[in-house]
Amino acid sequence: MSEGKQLVAKGRLIQEMSLKNRLIELITKWEVILCILLVVVVVFFSNMTPYFWDWFNLMNATFQFSEKAILALPMIFIIMCGDIDISIASIVALSGFVVGTAAEKGVGIPSLLLLSLLVGTVAGLINGLLITGLEMPAIAVTLATQSIYRGIPTGVLGEHACTQYPQGFGFFGQEFIPGTVIPFELVLYLFIAAIFAFVLHKTTYGRRLYAIGNSAETAKFSGINVKRMRIINFTLTGFFCGLGGFLLASRILSVRSNIATGWDMEIITLVVLGGVSITGGRGTVIGVILGSLLVGYLKFGMGLLKFSGTVMTIVVGSLLIIAVLLPRLLDLYKANRKLRMQQRS
């Protein structure tokens, strides 16, 4: 933006960046790093096992993480605003429970979907209202609702499992697009991800999310309805939890009160790994998509090598920490470079 009259700041600014510096700048971009990591994972596992680089397997493996990856998308909005939701797995269980129970009563597929979405949306809305109403940190409130939402299916279902579903219900979570090897869930995920990317990066809503994440107070003074947007974020997440519950029920065709346990942590890991700052205000959808693919294929590859789940948890846990540590070290490196250059001048 050099047109128009531009006054140069006082305090002696550092000169234009050289090409080399710009290259370093690019390579140290988080999305680029994720891309490189993803390539490393793919190349590594393709060399380690003949089963990895296989079109069907690569597609089929997405069943394992599509639902979580979908939920990571609205979670971007929540974390972007500096909030967090650790009740999402419970909402998935709650809406899954409603789907299962209703299906046993003979409810048809469209109504099941609506019901599931409705329950999820309401649960998310309650989260949002409680957080903004009580003016309490989201982590505290969703810690409580986590137990409450999980408590309902646990209390009602007890030992029971819902296993009766209408004909064709399994399509959404298990089947491929007819005539291809592309899972329906994957297509759904990519579609939703595209919408989220558009909303975050191209709309006023997205811009406002960034503003809130960086300074909620300034956002408020600038005429942004911060409370309402936070409520919308939680409600939106609830809506997608409802979708997640529906897809999960469709995939495993058996709903118990303990479905989706541990998803909260996994999904937050995806979002943070994708480069969304946990304190809000920074991140991209493409980063989270790459993060989801990275974790998904890393786990798939390790599974092929018959790594135990234990090793996988350790690897994913370490990845999360490294993901946050690395950009920090890079920043430090960049700052030091700048300093050295300045001192030389």
């Binding site: 982590i139 408590g151 408020k220 937050i268 846990g317 946050v324």
Partner: protein, 333 residues
């Protein structure tokens, strides 16, 4: 604060969280006792206290982390790793005296806590992310350590299993340890510089820097305390339940956080007290123990616990709002 007239102390006390909890506890106990008179028997009370002893130890560690404006999600995994290590050590070297095992547990916990602390203090990774990562890593390490096997009662030495059960002056050693921890950290919070500096960091980390309080040091200390106490809890856990399994204490962090929330600890850091945490734990213990007694299906336990935490949060907000509605408006806009 100390050195204050009796009246102002009382006034402060009643404005405080602890008082609210006492009232709630009484309100809760009345219907329970009517329903099951033996609930208030000495024996049952001692069961509840014994049940809560480990939780209170862990909650105090969690308290310091929350006080410094962080959160430690890894306490359950630290308990598991330390507990498993103590169990296995006891199995292979039964000659090691039991009290020494507690020290071993604390040592292991301290190391794990230190790792968290270093990542937070020097790696500048937010506590929630750090411990979200280490919660899986430590749990995984527990599996790797035990190769998936358990340590069960007959593989453990009699003296180790007996350790928490022995009584002294009619009170179990487990409970004595809990009391000792409460007393020690009460002193720490009130009468040591480091103890006060935790409040400073949690209240306003930037201001703390100006008066020379080292943020990294305090962050390291709180995670060290949390880790050490969780390690101690792990060693006690193995002895108390006479078994060490890989899944032990899964989700325990949620209970510890809940105890802190109930105890009125400010989630934004900088406010709260040890006594409140102890009361919060007790409250949680009474509720958990009361459920079976009032014939509420165990399946509803999760629901009720969540509900109680929510009510505690609402209470926190209401008492805060009344006092500082104006301040909030000023600060948060």
């Amino acid at each position: 604060m100390p050195n204050r007239s009796f009246q102002s102390v009382m006034k402060q006390a009643f404005a405080r969280r602890e008082a609210t909890l006492i009232v709630l506890l009484v309100l809760l106990l009345v219907p329970i006792t009517i329903r099951s008179p033996h609930f208030l028997s000495v024996k049952n009370i001692s069961t509840i206290l014994n049940d809560m002893a480990i939780l209170v130890i862990v909650s105090i560690g969690e308290f310091y982390v929350i006080l410094s404006n962080g959160i430690d999600l890894s306490v359950g995994s630290v308990i598991a790793f330390a507990g498993m290590a103590c169990g296995m050590l006891n199995e292979s070297h039964p000659e090691i005296p039991a009290p020494l095992l507690l020290l071993v547990g604390m040592g292991i916990g301290a190391i794990l806590g230190l790792v968290n602390g270093v990542l937070v203090a020097y790696g500048k990774i937010p506590p929630i992310i750090t411990t979200l990562g280490t919660v899986s890593i430590y749990r995984g390490m527990t599996f790797l350590l035990s190769k998936g096997t358990w340590v069960t009662a007959h593989e453990m030495s009699k003296s180790y299993i007996a350790l928490p059960r022995n009584t002294f002056l009619g009170i179990s050693v487990l409970l004595w340890i809990a009391f000792a921890v409460i007393a020690l950290f009460y002193y720490f919070s009130r009468y040591t510089r480091t103890g006060r500096e935790v409040y400073a960091i949690g209240g306003n980390a930037n201001a703390a820097k100006f008066v020379g309080v080292s943020e990294s040091r305090i962050r390291l200390v709180v995670f060290l305390v949390s880790g050490t106490l969780s390690g101690l809890a792990g060693a006690l856990w193995t002895a108390r339940y006479a078994s060490a399994v890989n899944e032990m204490a899964t989700g325990f962090e949620m209970q510890a956080v809940a105890a802190c929330v109930l105890g009125g600890v400010n989630f934004a850091g900088g406010a709260g007290g040890i006594i409140g945490v102890a009361m919060g734990t007790l409250f949680l213990g009474v509720v958990t123990n009361a459920l079976p007694v009032i014939y509420l299906s165990v399946f509803w336990q999760t629901f009720v616990q969540g509900f109680i935490v929510l009510i505690a949060l609402a209470l926190n907000t209401m008492s805060d709002q009344r006092k500082t509605r104006k301040l909030l408006a000023q600060r948060r806009g």
